[in-house]
C-alpha cells in the first residue's frame, strides 16, 4: 500500500524530470550553436526565452479547449518550456552587458525579452485558442 502510494505521488515530478530533459537539451543545444561571450549580445538566451513564451501561451490556451493526457501540464509547461526558458541567464546577461559598459544594449535586451516575451505569449494564447 505504501509503495503504491509512493508510486502515485512520484508521477508528477517524473513528468517534470522528463520534460526538463527535453527542454534543457534544447536550451543547451541552442547555446552550443550560438555561443555568447560575456558582454556580447545574448542572442541564444533571447531566442529561447521568446520561443518558449510563445509556445507556453499556445499550450496553455490549447489545454483549456482540448483534453490532455495525465501530467501533460507537468511535462510540457513546467518541464519542457519551463526549463527551455531561463531567468537566471537573462539576469546575468544584463549584468555582463552593464559591466561591458553597454547600457543601451542592456536596455535593448531587456526590452526585447520582456516586451517581446509578453507579446509572443499573448500571440501564442490567440493561436492556441483558435487552432487545434
Amino acid at each position: 500500500m505504501r509503495l503504491r502510494q509512493l508510486t502515485v505521488d512520484s508521477e508528477p515530478w517524473i513528468a517534470v524530470l522528463g520534460g526538463g530533459l527535453v527542454g534543457s537539451a534544447a536550451r543547451v543545444g541552442i547555446g552550443y550553436v550560438l555561443p555568447t561571450t560575456p558582454g556580447a549580445f545574448p542572442i541564444a538566451t533571447l531566442m529561447v526565452n521568446l520561443i518558449g513564451s510563445l509556445f507556453l501561451g499556445a499550450y496553455l490556451a490549447r489545454r483549456e479547449r482540448a483534453a490532455t493526457v495525465r501530467w501533460s501540464l507537468q511535462f510540457w509547461a513546467i518541464g519542457v518550456l519551463g526549463s527551455f526558458t531561463t531567468f537566471s541567464a537573462f539576469s546575468l546577461d544584463v549584468v555582463h552587458l552593464l559591466e561591458a559598459n553597454r547600457p543601451m544594449s542592456a536596455l535593448g535586451y531587456v526590452t526585447a525579452s520582456v516586451i517581446g516575451g509578453l507579446l509572443l505569449a499573448l500571440t501564442g494564447q490567440r493561436l492556441g485558442s483558435s487552432f487545434g
Partner: protein, 116 residues
C-alpha cells in the same frame, strides 16, 4: 560530455523548481506568483555567484549553469504576468514584472561581485 552534464543538471533543476515553487506558493497562500519569483531570484543570485567565481572546473561550471537554467524560468514569468492583468496592463502585473526584473538583475550583480 559537458553538454550532457548541463542537460541532466537542467532536468534536476526543473524538478527542484517544481517542488520549491509549489511549496512557496502553497505556504504563502497568495494569488501573486511568489513561487516563481522565489526560484527566479534565488537562481539569479546563485548564477551570479557561479559566474564570478574563478578557477572552478569547467564541468562544475557547466553543471551549475545547466542546473540554474532549468531551475529558473522565463516563460512562466511571462504567462503569470499576463494572468495578473494584461491587457490592459494592471498594477499587479507591473509589480510582478518590475519586482522580478529589478531584483533579479540586482541579485545576479551582487552574487557576481561577491565572488569576482
Amino acid at each position: 560530455m559537458t553538454l550532457l552534464l548541463a542537460t541532466l543538471a537542467g532536468a534536476v533543476g526543473a524538478v527542484c523548481r517544481y517542488l520549491l515553487s509549489g511549496l512557496v506558493q502553497q505556504q504563502t497562500r497568495s494569488d501573486f506568483p511568489l513561487g516563481t519569483l522565489a526560484v527566479n531570484l534565488a537562481g539569479a543570485f546563485l548564477l551570479g555567484l557561479l559566474a564570478g567565481a574563478d578557477g572552478l572546473p569547467s564541468a562544475a561550471t557547466m553543471a551549475g549553469a545547466g542546473f540554474l537554467g532549468g531551475f529558473t524560468t522565463f516563460s512562466t514569468w511571462m504567462i503569470e504576468t499576463i494572468r495578473l492583468g494584461i491587457p490592459p496592463l494592471r498594477g499587479r502585473a507591473v509589480a510582478n514584472l518590475a519586482l522580478t526584473l529589478l531584483a533579479g538583475v540586482a541579485l545576479a550583480a551582487v552574487g557576481y561581485s561577491l565572488t569576482n
